[in-house]
Symmetry: C2
Subunit: 694 residues, 2 copies
């Protein structure tokens, strides 16, 4: 429980200062300014008082109990202060001081020392190297932080890995009149981490929406578990930065981490039902809508507009972001036709015309709210001088207040002149957006959230006929031979144990064996060198395809033997080329499942990077989305009237691979490339597999 | 000259009204509120006065000269009022009234009638179905418009096809403290059109930046000519809406036009050196920077930040938008290392740390301004409580004020508390942006503008050895035969006349001819049916490839003869397959050059839509950008260490085709698909060509 952190009954500031341009001054000032509801104690060995407060030389001199203590002294002196806090019975410390793990070996030592002392006394540690926390609950009003955003109670809680990003978000929420519920920027997470805070907010009835800024996740598995539960109840929105290579490099130099562009974190967020954003403004505006409006049931929008051009802007925005323009029902169209101006456009966007009356708006909004083809009603409203705009606002509020569908209102206006009109919306709790693009993006976020809600309960695929024991034995065999790469024949056997289609094959060491194997497998066959050292076998001349006779096999074996002396030779049935696809898997984060990659083979992967990634385990829906998510999907589905390939077989292949990887985390990397896929009814043909163990 | 429109010495309002919720009231009120510098006359046959003005029954009763008259009467009465204006000697009318061309046949008739009368008297007409114009020049202050944006003099002029979009932009410029110079929303453009206004603003010294909102262009060629001249002097920024199919459909229902997604307008804007945007906010922010800052010389950014997270956001934004992170010079790095905090990061982004002093900022900014590897200096500045932020602002202003490079400042702050800091920037004319994403996008716009400036003077390619007369003769021949599609052999001859590589070919009508032609061309050959009726020849069995013997030719000829009786047969040298590319051309707008399309052949075009479009004529730079612009470019350049294809030959091919199309606007569509391209030194091999004449 983090009550001592977020709802402290008393706060001490160790390192409080009278010098204005210091953190030790600012935290005291912020606690006072925010109207903190408990006693504040300042600790400073030299000053008799700090601001209006008696300053104690030592935390142990404080005459009352202390729930929370800020520590702002030099990094080398933090441990000593924690020792004193322990003796005093402090429950939680916020170590704002930097100079710990983030600076390298010396800092790691200091951090471990500090944690050991805290542990001895049962003190929880927030930080070090952090901003702090805030809680705007009117019963608490704890501004345990040195930032500048004014505290206004709200329903959105914000957690930021970067304090700078957190502050930009908080300040924007303030400007939008939303305030915040709680805030945390946790620094090094030496003890209290993002997962624990997330869980606390999940249980906080005052938090309606959670906003996250994430650079890297430290406790990915724990985080995922908690987040997936919370997103069933309330929306979590996340901004993940460092999405370009150079951005990721900047993250790594900033956090001292060593991450590349980190695919698994983004995939994980998606998997937990978290709505992700690339833009702080969009994040804040979506949070605004999600904290105020009903949840949408789908992605079909109906637009009411009194101005053509901005209606087109909305249409462009929402279509590009995966929404649909609702087909209005026949009944809706009839009602609109009978009641709007004759020149009004009753298709979607419904153009009520610039001179539309309050009655026109209200009727149009009511009609679209009732239309079963509409999930989101979008009102694009410019405020002409010659219209009773306050009447329009009252009419729309009337419709929105009891509606089960969200209404997005874009109010394009001069904010001082039309303050009363805007206030009618604000008083009714209906957010208004000032530009059509902003409203369009918010609508698209509501639609994405609808989709995430629907996907939420999908379960991982499973197959009864898989044999983990065979697979484990093969993995152990490779490991005990001191190898990291599995042999071709073991790799094929491993796949076979999971019911994946494996073609006839054999591993041989001499010419006679090769000929016998070829006879048993049946011509044509392919011969490959079996060697851990040869990575690109084809390029090195280690693969000889489509051998049709004994004589061809003899020559091929001799050639391989000459080029790669004393290597084993792998022999397999030659497959007729089909459409090439590839599957890959790797573990980016050992706490999480493998990242799976699916794409068309060859240049589609190498040049066009036409690949879809998902984080294992996978549901049926995930697999379908993977196969359909590549740009080259039409090639699989069939183009120019030709028959496509057997999609179900591809999906089963991916499903079985997903189980295999889930059961065997020892697999570090796996490449199945190419896999030939064929028309309906034919099993996929796996040509080559590479399995690397951890 | 449009002085009577934009700098009217007097304004009359025909249809002025005392009813507040009318356009006739609002225009009078807006003229008064804006402080218009000339006399205002109201015309109303029933009221003795309108607001504070004597109302005349008839414009002819007005005792002084009238430069400009608004007409706001019913559509059927507009012509009569223009007749009276003519008798009075009015120079220009703004017809706000709707119900003309946009409503169909009846409206077209009214519009033509009105124009004829205006022409008789030499009156220029603005509109109908329009908002009007504004000029904030302190000597004029003409608010001839019924919208709500307050008039504040600025240097940005705004022209909007959609009055709604124009108003959103104007209002946003007002909120940003920029105001506007002039404004026009022109409605049906029955007489005065966008081109003429653009030219007027090009010559207006008070206009530093021009913003356009465009749905469709009516006078594309004239517009292009004027715009291309202006962009050499001052930036034009454009927002083109209707970019998705449904958005375009909404444009067409809104304007009564019939356009699909309109590629040529977007290409034209690019060609004229116009910077295009998809987002009004981004458009306004870019205009703000371009009106205030020096022009950037390139796209290399150096970032100074005092907060890691927002620095990463900027990096992501600019990299995704085609900028580069500058490699700081050795000297710069040394200076930064010596003068900043020891823990500061001196790579790019330069992290000066949260506690950086004003001297740190000033020194870092100065150093980056002087670095020859840096084109744009980007300052990402969060305002901590414990920093002298006013000192930082003064230091940065010191550097920016005489710099020849732009400095983008993102000031992340609470705007009331840090008003003085923000004012230091504002007073020095340095725009500040409140979010890192916004600043990043503005920086990317400056870099794009730098690129457009550099490309501006590229000239169309030309070749001396082309023969338009042969080509014209072949086109005439096809036309006089009453055909729209050229025969294969004529099409090949046409290409040959422009020096395009054409393989040996012949058209034959009997077996003997086929055999003789094959012998002359040399085996292997390909036979194709020659028929205008068969569109997909291959699919219909009309193409027989790689025939190696007389016997094969005999059989092929017989087969074709059976399937397509009495059709001619086209015979050509069979080409060994190379890398497939395709070229296409079509005329979307008869006022403009052809739209050329280049891509890899087959599924790359059909499935992946990996195509680059350009508007003819093309410069060398255009062609290079086309070839390098497709995602599949690495396939042409050579992948996996293999030799690529001869890029120069592809570029020459495109260049010659560009000239051909430029010389022969009668060509409506042209498809060259596939073209085989080969390694260095080999001519491209054109397999199939289809030419459709207009």
């Amino acid at each position: 429980m983090l009550d001592a952190l977020f709802r402290p009954k008393s706060v001490a500031v160790i390192g409080a200062s009278n010098r204005e341009l210091t953190i030790g001054y600012r935290i005291v000032q912020n606690l006072v300014d925010s109207g903190y509801k408990g006693p504040i104690f300042t600790v400073n060995p030299k000053a008799p008082f700090v601001k209006n407060f008696v300053a104690y030389k030592d935390i142990r001199e404080v005459p009352l109990d202390v729930d929370l203590a800020h520590i702002i002294v030099k990094n080398t002196r933090v441990s000593a202060e924690i020792e004193k806090c322990g003796q005093k019975g402090v429950k939680v410390v916020i170590v704002n001081t930097a100079g710990f793990r983030e600076i390298g070996a010396d800092g790691i030592k200091l951090e471990e020392e500090m944690l050991a002392i805290a542990k001895k006394y049962g003190i929880r540690v927030f930080g070090p190297n952090c901003q702090g926390v805030m809680n705007s609950d009117p019963e608490v009003r704890a501004y345990c932080n040195f930032t500048f955003t004014k505290m206004v109670p709200g329903t959105i809680s914000v957690m930021a890995q970067s304090g700078g990003v957190g502050e930009v978000i908080n300040n924007r929420l303030y400007e939008l009149g939303l305030g915040f519920r709680m805030y945390a920027s946790y620094g090094n997470q030496s003890d209290i981490n993002a997962t624990e805070i997330l869980e606390y907010w999940g249980n906080d009835p005052g938090t309606k929406v959670i906003l996250l800024h994430i650079e890297t996740l430290s406790d990915a598995a724990g985080f995922a578990k908690v987040a997936a539960e919370i997103t069933k109840q309330k929306p979590i929105l996340a901004m993940k930065t460092g999405r370009t290579k150079l951005g990721a490099k900047a993250v790594s130099s900033h956090t001292g981490g060593m991450m590349g562009v980190d695919t698994s974190t983004s995939l994980l967020l998606e998997k937990c039902g978290i709505l992700t954003f690339d833009d702080e403004e969009e994040l804040c505006q979506a949070a605004r809508a999600l904290s105020a409006l009903p949840v949408a049931a789908g992605n079909r929008l109906a637009i009411i507009t009194n101005t053509g051009g901005p209606g087109i802007i909305v249409t462009d925005e929402i279509i590009e972001r995966g929404c649909e323009m609702a087909e209005l029902s026949f009944d809706s169209q009839e009602i609109l036709r009978e009641n709007l101006y004759a020149e009004a456009s009753i298709a979607n966007p419904v153009d009520v015309l610039a001179t539309a009356t309050p009655e026109h708006y209200q009727l149009a909004a009511e009609t679209l709210m009732k239309d079963p083809n509409v999930d989101i009603v979008f009102v694009n409203f410019i405020t002409p001088f010659f219209v009773d705009t306050e009447g329009v606002a009252r009419g729309l509020v009337e419709v929105a207040k009891d509606a089960s569908k969200p209404m997005i209102v874009v109010a394009m206006t001069e904010k001082e002149g039309w303050a009363t009109t805007l206030k009618i919306f604000a008083d009714a709790g209906i957010p208004t957006f000032d530009m059509p693009e902003v409203g369009g993006r918010v609508a698209a976020s509501l639609a994405r959230y609808a989709q995430l809600k629907q996907r939420h309960d999908s379960t991982p695929v499973s197959y009864a006929d898989v044999d983990p024991s065979v697979a484990s034995r093969l993995i152990d065999k490779t490991r005990s031979a001191g190898r990291q790469f599995m042999s071709q024949s073991d790799a094929f056997s491993l796949l076979d144990a999971y019911g994946l289609p494996v073609i006839a094959n054999s591993e041989v060491s001499d010419m006679a064996g090769a000929l016998a194997a070829a006879a048993e497998i049946g011509y044509p066959v392919t011969l490959k060198v079996e060697s851990e050292d040869v990575v690109h076998k084809s390029d090195a001349g280690g693969v000889l395809l489509n051998l049709e006779t004994d004589k061809a096999v003899e020559k091929a074996f001799a050639d391989l033997n000459r080029t790669f002396p004393s290597s084993q030779v792998f022999i397999q049935k030659y497959l007729n080329p089909g459409v090439e696809v590839m599957l890959g898997a790797h573990r980016e984060n050992t706490e999480l499942g493998h990242v799976l990659a699916f794409g068309l083979g060859g240049i589609f992967v190498e040049v066009l990077k036409d690949v879809v990634f998902k984080l294992n385990p996978l549901s049926k829906e995930d697999i379908a989305a993977m196969v359909r998510g590549i740009k080259g999907y039409p090639i699989l589905a069939g183009i120019r009237g030709q028959e496509g390939v057997d999609l179900e077989k591809i999906e089963e292949f991916i499903g079985r691979l997903s189980i295999l990887l889930h059961n065997h985390p020892e697999i570090e990397e796996m490449d199945l490339n190419p896999i030939f896929v064929y028309p309906r009814g034919q099993e996929p043909g796996l040509v080559d597999v590479r399995i690397k163990l951890s």
